[in-house]
């Protein structure tokens, strides 16, 4: 499966994966992430049920403390 992750092409095994699975496979370790599929916000509690499939545009941004 080929997707666009943070504006770059990315390849994953399988036909579809959840957002949490993607976070695990890509090893995003920051505690606080904000995620979107095709421009639509996916909240923390929705990440196990939000599916990513071929051609989707996925954005993962980490937020860090300080201000």
């Amino acid at each position: 499966m080929q997707i666009i992750l943070n504006n770059r092409p990315a390849h994953f095994e399988g036909e579809k994966i959840t957002v949490n699975e993607l976070i695990k496979r890509k090893n995003f370790t920051f505690k606080l992430l904000v995620t979107k599929i095709n421009g639509k916000l996916v909240r923390v509690d929705e990440r196990d049920n939000a599916w990513i499939s071929e051609g989707d545009k996925v954005e993962v941004m980490h937020l860090i403390s300080g201000g």
């Binding site: 606080l32 904000v34 979107k36 421009g39 954005e59 937020l63 860090i64 403390s65 300080g66 201000g67």
Partner: protein, 225 residues
Amino acid sequence: MYLTVFYALSFCACWRKMYFYKLNMAVRIMTETLIRNHLSHFEVAIAGCGGLGSNAAVALARSGIGKLFMVDFDRVELSNLNRQYFFYDQIGQYKAHALADNIHRIDKSIGLRTSIVKLDETSVTQLFATVDLVIEAFDQAAEKQMLLETMLVNFPEKPLIMGNGMAGFGKFELIKQQQWDKQVYICGDFTNEISEDNPPLAPRVGIVANMQANLALDLILKMRK
């Protein structure tokens, strides 16, 4: 003969005018009076009056913003004075109130509102309904996330400018500005989290705060009212 020269000259003048007009439109050359007039019609919310919020608010105030709405639940502490726009004799005061005092010392004509509250989803939705732009200036990543998600869901058309990663010193080349959604912009280095070994310091915090204010000006000067 004279007539031809006259026509040629006036033709050139006309083209010159059109050329400069187009140039002005493209790079938005504005006099300071025009900038201040435009900004005077807009209100910016400052979500958190710490290092980012206090410095961004002051930059906007000096530029001629019409109104500022400052929100923070915290009080000024001695340890804040290494980067936040407060003074020694303000220790113990609510940050939102102290910042309002400081801004009124710069410009008495700015309309100021303050709210002493720890922002959550409900209060963000209520308080920020009328403002034109929001500057995110929280300390904790969890609060940043709450504000970003609340804004995306409730006010997708309202610009939000966030700060993300500005601890430590040096590493100027890592600091950047990024558009993350139609109306969400992020300034910072996206890496340097505050910790005991990586404290927030005046220069880098000030750089990011002023980037946020600079971007706010840019966006507001494109808005109409």
